[in-house]
Amino acid sequence: MKRNNRLKEKIAFTIFSIVSFIIVIILFLIIAFIFVNGISVISWDFISKMPTDGMTGGGILPAIVGTLCLMLGSIVFSFPIGVLSGIFINEYLKDSIFKKFLSLMTNNLAGVPSIVFGLFGMSLFVNHLNFGDSIIAGSLTLGLLTLPVIITTTEEALKSVDNSVRIGSYALGASKLQTIKRVVLPIAYPNIITGLILSLSRVSGETAPILFTVAAYFLPRLPNSMFDQVMALPYHLYVLTTSGTNIEQSRPMAYGTALVLILIVLIFNLIANIIRKKLGQNVKMK
């Protein structure tokens, strides 16, 4: 019996480690593939020049700037709304049908396919509100897309705050708002910031929501205002691979673009980790 258990233990352990290992290998292969194919075109010119020769030469600066604009724009919109609703749901709402309903809706929002967000953004922001294809229309659409992520991470971050500090604050006569502002949020915000940055890196890679709301096929200049159209990395990648003027010739450019996109995501994830570690140290519970 005992020996049997030990054997089972060994088999289970082996299966678990193989599966985890496969995941690491897949990730590594993707990155290595992009890196090997893309590194040859990466140069200072590539990230600082406009595209030329029907996108078979030059750089991808407008797409980089466009993507950064969209990341910033979407977060300006979704961060305040997402964090405030997260606070409302977790701190103010008592357990009730309404709270369950809100959670359900948030989860459903997270499950809506991104192309649907794209169509919604086009009809509301581009057409109905007359923003046209613009950074603001794209940012708002991407903001909507990340809203559930930010709400959920805020909720989770607040949930992980030990209730005893809330009670301790109330016992000193603090109001609910004072308790949230001075005790709960300082503990929760490393995790909230982490969620924010992760949603940023998600925004950088989304294609469908920007397809009809902001992304330009070819626009070799930088935006002047938030009502301008821009190029964006994921869409540029799509264009280069499927509908460029000369797909064969622009292939290395496509890999280079993919590499830049992946690097942006990696850098943001790295920053998220550093911030979580740094901020987390000050508020670590024993």
Binding site: S164, G168, L172, I187
Partner: protein, 249 residues
Amino acid sequence: MKVITKNVNLFYGDFQALKDINLEMEMNTVTALIGPSGCGKSTYLRLFNRMNDLIDNVKITGEVLIDGQNIYDKSTQVDELRKKIGMVFQKPNPFPKSIFENVAFGLRINGINDKIYIEETVKNSLIQAALWDEVKDKLKKSAFELSGGQQQRLCIARTLAIQPSIVLMDEPASALDPISTAKIEDLIYDLKKKYTIIIVTHNMQQAARISDKTAFFYMGELIEYDKTSKIFTKPEKEQTQNYVTGRFG
């Protein structure tokens, strides 16, 4: 000034946790609340700063008079009440702030900004809580760097900083080692001169050592309330006798 409980009943939903409690406590005394787990003593303690309000589905009838004022009156401002009735919890719960800011917290939320006054109050509170000598050189350090016993004394200092008239303590030493416990007990003995203390404890010796009066609760009822010496030597009721001698509970 007295603390008077009149015909208090408390329900959690359908469950009655306190049954018709009548009790009168004097100022500047230590009252110990004892009884087996689930007897209602912690619930009774939380009546005085209305902490039970934070729990859903609680219904309270009767009166709790502090200084002649029924604190369950509609006109009572709970925030203000809690500034006068401090509370120390079973598990130390310092805020994720520096040692200094933990003690200054109660002052700051009251809108006090006078730097010198805050510094003095923090120092005095830490001295009263017998923690000053151990932390005076590291006031800017995080409260989490302190040991459990130090954290608990910090929480006591935090409570004293807003100068409450009554301090409630819910098993303040149960999560601490014997040396820290002894320190907290000495502290309670000193604090009695300035404050009225109501303390819940599971530790019979502790109740006997530090309290002037003891109330024994059982199944939501107040069985007996008398001088501590009497409760532990010649209690009136057999149930009390059985509990304090360790025959049940």
